[in-house]
Symmetry: none
């Protein structure tokens, strides 16, 4: 806004944080979380190495920040949708819709599947906390009479597994269709294979 000495980069604190996070997203997507180093992240940035440490303590912390950002963004929406659900159908369908739509909108953070390479998936505590929330919501839904008294832990795991694995396959499609994915997952969880839509 005001005149600055030339060469002075106009970067705010928040911007730098974002610059690092975005670079890390790219690096993790390209080389996988395990192989990536702080160096790699810095190199993908116009910033100096020391600057990194003004924002994060380690690669792990960056990764957590990314996953947490994602998890914290979606978890409240999922909780709300499930809380408002008035039936098994809406409990499932709204959850899957929100999840697959979110994944499609944030592809870079979810694409971990590369053909013929190792596939890495790393879940942070914040993500795992989302799993626990789902279990709690399942338990509450049981209490509310929405769901039968099933094994909430296993059902949670099944829902999580279906959500994550299907979302990776969804991202391989062109274009990804979150609605269709949600419909598939919902039908499957609701009525089993027999209830699935027949493919055209």
């Amino acid at each position: 806004m005001e005149a600055r000495p030339p060469g002075r980069r106009e970067r705010t604190k928040a911007q730098n944080r974002k610059v690092i996070l975005d670079a890390a997203r790219r690096v993790f997507a390209e080389m996988g979380y395990g192989a990536a180093t702080v160096r790699d992240i810095i190199k993908a940035t116009p910033l100096a190495s020391g600057t990194f440490y003004n924002y994060f303590k380690s690669k792990e912390e960056v990764y957590q920040a990314i996953r947490d950002e994602v998890a914290l963004a979606i978890r409240p929406r999922l909780r709300a949708a499930r809380a408002e659900a008035t039936s098994v159908e809406t409990f499932l369908s709204e959850g899957f819709r929100i999840f697959f739509a979110f994944v499609a909108a944030n592809q870079a953070d979810f694409r971990h599947l590369k053909p013929d390479t190792m596939r890495f998936r790393v879940d942070t505590p914040e993500v795992l906390a989302g799993f626990e929330e789902l279990r709690a919501d399942v338990e509450e839904a049981i209490a509310r009479g929405l769901l039968p008294a099933v094994d909430a832990d296993y059902l949670m795991a099944a829902l999580v597994g279906v959500g994550f694995e299907m979302s990776e396959r969804m991202l391989l499609r062109d274009p990804p269709d979150p609605e269709a994915a949600a419909a598939f997952a919902t039908a499957l969880m609701l009525g089993g294979i027999k209830a699935l839509p027949v493919a055209g």
Copy 2:
């Protein structure tokens, strides 16, 4: 443990390979794949550092060997069971039974979930090939009229997701009960939530 004649060449090549793989299994289970180093694996071994490199080129290669061993051990059994299936029920139930039983019998290779820590999952090409086999089997089952003409790719993903996520929860239970897990997963995939057994 016991005294040996000095200079006795006591270990064979195959044994050393196994010694390294077993040490790696332990190390990966204890510290997680990402944190483990080749050094750690060697230290968990009575062998010299150089010996490691007579067998494997890197941590990645050891990991692959473990996963591949596992994948190659279970995949033929799964294929056979699915090929012999005469109904949707057996297609699913036998697959889940074999998978969960295998996981329970090889806990160390599957336990990636630690409370309050990050969870790593790394799938090697050989594991991914197992996914493709499942998809092919689903397609064949559709062709054989065993399954309706559903989206085989998504169904494969759902089955994989349910299998892996549920197996991690199963391993947290004491004792793990593969039969119960298989029953749950089968019922869910077959008839949906409504068909699930009601928890005691």
Copy 3:
């Protein structure tokens, strides 16, 4: 040698490069290029091991830098002298004078002969380029009528051989006498053995 205020950033980038190159010069001279390791070079330096790699990728690269520095320092002078030559005599005498004087002034970089040991000589691409320059100059001198139409490639080789081998013998003498060496080489190349000065 003297106390310094702690934390003083005392060395500049260019200085460090020089520190490493000088250490390498000493190490190569002492143990020979083949036996020297990066470690040895670092140890001959007040710097940390990692610092080495901020400047050079390997022992080879350091060696090249040294040889290239030497080659790039002397080649223009040789070219100029040969270009200005108005006779065979000056073409040869000025070349040898410059070369032997340079060798005497940079003994450490040229002393490869140790009695009763192997003798290493390693010529980098930059040095080899100097050979080609000499050949080109010979060809031009022929074109200019300064030299008869001899085999320029062989003549170049002969001049190079005489220069390098004689310089090693020169450095063994105490004190080295570049003028005398140049006089000898010039006379030999000009008029053959019969034209050589008779030793006192």
Copy 4:
């Protein structure tokens, strides 16, 4: 000659020594003396690593054996020729003829020049001893009145330099012509540049 159990390799001690020396020649020519390792030499051999040590103690020793073999083969011939020389002309011409012919016949042991790469030359004590012999012969030739009383050390160096450098250039030609090289070197050393044959 007699029947042997199958798989038994018919190798004599002398043959194995030769196998190793030949492999080493190839390896040194390919990667240069400095970069080559004992491992590399063994790999270029059908022998086991331990067998190497039945014949040589180190890479250095192999190298010495090669160079020495070469030096010991040629040195007596050179000595004899120089001893029999009755004039400067024959002293020089016979020496160069023998040397260049030998080099041409043993190309692999002398080719150290690769375009655009570093060039290594390593002279063993046995080779250096050959230099001293040449100097002694020069001194004797002076005593015999064959040569003027020149600086024998420098003349030796000049002859060596001309011989080695020219031989490398000779080997680059197709076909190498030792006679022509010898004629050139002899004329140059005898009468200087002016006495050189004019190139066609």
